[in-house]
């Protein structure tokens, strides 16, 4: 069911175009989708589902939120595919939908208090069968701290960090996603990193 093209894309960190794909190009799929070809859109979904989910997850850190957000992203994409500018890269457009939704979610929901044991739970959830529990616990503690600090950042900072560090998008692409100038991406990213570093240092008593 998953095409190899989709798999390649899926597996990629960023999700956007990888030109070497077999199968139809994004542009072809978009054009077909705009003509109402649901199968083509289905292919787009499969091609970008992992990237979209990955972004959704990094912005929500919740299985149900990420699932909902990822699905909703494609639902909205389908609804708006007719307005998509052919020739533009597809993934930043999808990522914009994800981040806009995430922002909306941020606005409508108080973030979890810092005492949340969610990180613990999530750490537990990431425990794989083959993992060494001891190694895992140390790593997961670091990750949990980082996640909590990340949680505390402004949504815009979270988004720009997720797009850059998790999604590996270029500044240009991030600018497209967030609909801001590249210069803003640069400064925002810098501030976000500084803020994250500061919070992490605070939390760990300077021992990052």
């Amino acid at each position: 069911m998953d095409s190899s093209a989709g798999r390649n894309r899926d597996a990629g960190k960023t999700g956007p175009d990888d030109a070497g794909n077999a199968g139809p190009s994004d542009a072809d799929l978009v054009a077909a989708s705009q003509r109402g070809d649901q199968a083509a859109f289905g292919e787009i979904v499969r091609r970008y589902q992992r990237a979209v989910h990955r972004l959704a997850w990094s912005l929500t850190r919740s299985a149900s939120d990420a699932d909902d957000l990822a699905q909703e992203t494609f639902v909205r994409a389908w609804g708006a595919i007719g307005r998509f500018e052919t020739g533009q890269p597809l993934y930043p457009w999808l990522a914009r939908i994800v981040t806009n939704q995430a922002f909306s979610l941020f606005r409508h929901r108080r973030r979890r208090p810092e005492t949340s044991i969610e990180p613990l739970v999530e750490a537990g959830q990431q425990w794989g069968v083959d993992d060494d529990p001891a190694d895992h616990s140390a790593r997961s503690e670091r990750d949990a701290q980082l996640r909590e600090c990340f949680d505390a950042l402004a949504p815009e900072h979270q988004a720009v960090l997720a797009l850059r560090s998790v999604q590996d998008l270029s500044y240009d692409e991030i600018a497209k996603v967030l609909e801001v100038p590249v210069g803003t991406v640069m400064s925002r990213l810098s501030r976000a990193r500084a803020e994250l570093k500061r919070r992490l240092a605070e939390r760990t008593g300077g021992a990052t």
Partner: protein
Amino acid sequence: MTHLSPEQLSALHDGALAGTDLASAEAHLSACEACRVAMTELAELDASLDAALAHDPGDAYFADFASRVQTRIAAEAAAAEVAPAPVVRPVVPAPRRSPWFAPRAFGFAGAAAALVVTAGLAWMLFGRTLAPTDLMRANEMRSERSEPAAGAPAESPLAEQAVPEPTMQSAPEPGAQPGVGTTPERPAVAPFMKDAVPVSPRPQAARALGSDERARATAHRQTSTESRTSGSVQPPAANEAMTPKLMSEVTGASEPAASGPAATATPAPAAAASPAPPSDARREAEARHDAAPSTTPRAPAAGSAPSSGWGKLKAFTQPASPAPALAGGTAKTRALVGQSLDLQQSAAAIEPACGVVRDSRGTPLGGAQLTLLGATTRSARSAKDGSFCLERPMVGDTLLVMRVGYEPVRLVLVSSSALALALEPVGTLGSQDGLVAGGGETRDRLGSALGARTRAPQPDVYARESVPLREAVSAARDAAAMAARERTSLAWERAAAAWRAIGAATTDAASYDARFREIAALREAWLLTPDAAHRERFEQAAAAFVVGTPRALPERATVQRWQQELRRGPASR
């Protein structure tokens, strides 16, 4: 020497500098130890952030992702179609399956079959052949009616929910593997997208399901399941008219629905629930009238299936409105609905509604007060065995079910439906329990038909816990639900870990509950991958649980049973 600014460092790290900016930054970096250190820290932070934030739910999750999206799109389209009341399309196309659909979807037929087995009818509006107060006969009839549904995939809209829920609930029980075994082959259906109108997709069986799905999804974010791709239809009441805690089930008795009054009356509830009946209800009505419904139960013809499923679905997706029905909508709709109601009235006049009230675990509940509000008010009280009968139920009447200790249920009657009501105990976190006592992946959705059947009518053990912990419980339930869907030992391990964290953070009843769920999850993992490592984890957790819990705890006995099973090996279950 001026150090690189954080912005420059950041951009340099990201490879976003070019030209002279890049050259000068690199030149500085080569000469400045402090900036190199800062750069390294930046890179480390970046890498650890990636590790901390990245998450891959696994192939199983993505296997049916596209189909879930498609289902949702269908739901959106359905919702969108409601408002503008587009041109009526009298004939609903045959069910076709989109190429999006992943193969993991349950078949409708299987769903229906599972429904018959597991859904335990609680409440029915029967056909006119039913003698008043004849519960025995009622049960027979339910069986009879359900059977054709097994062969008629799209005819059992409800079944979809019946499949996953009971199977998941029973998952922890020996011999009860989730789903697949009870699910016959999916009907061969043509891909529906070839000629589908893309922007405003046509109503189809799959889409109908989607609407319901969407309603649920909107009501409560949830991890989705493959089961969603099967048909599911709830009555208007299920989605709109009920209180959130209510768990009711409506068996989509579309096949008996065709037997005259019932079928034609189907749109009525929709109208009742909304001042502006959906176009699809109209369409449905038209389709039924056009098709000259026979007076015998409809054959499980695939072609006729979607109309009922879709129509009902549409009804359910309507916003509830206290304003009844017939006043709203176009003249055409009114006429159709009126016609339907007339038929229904003649039928309803001689039909009782008998059934059983149960708790969400499926235990019959006596002493429930049932009130039927309509042209006249009728009331009844369920007997010790939960049974009751109400006279002259009418489509569009509102049924109130109340019992001490349970969330009240309010729903608008749908004709020709076999309804199963389950009362949810007051004060639970919701019906998202992952397994065992919680009963599979029971999504906390408005009017969700299938509740956590096996959930004990007991107070929520986490009620006194902090909000973060309750959130963690919710997450653990999600994890378990996901595991039940994915059916991988890894997913169950994750669920177990989530419950373990909760078990460690709680005491007493909450701790017992969480630990029990952890063990149940470990057991599932072991059953799926019966190797030494899984066995050991399961074994150890079970042993610790048995040692550390009160003898009277019911879960303890269950775990002890599992221990015996463990000694015999997974194959013996």
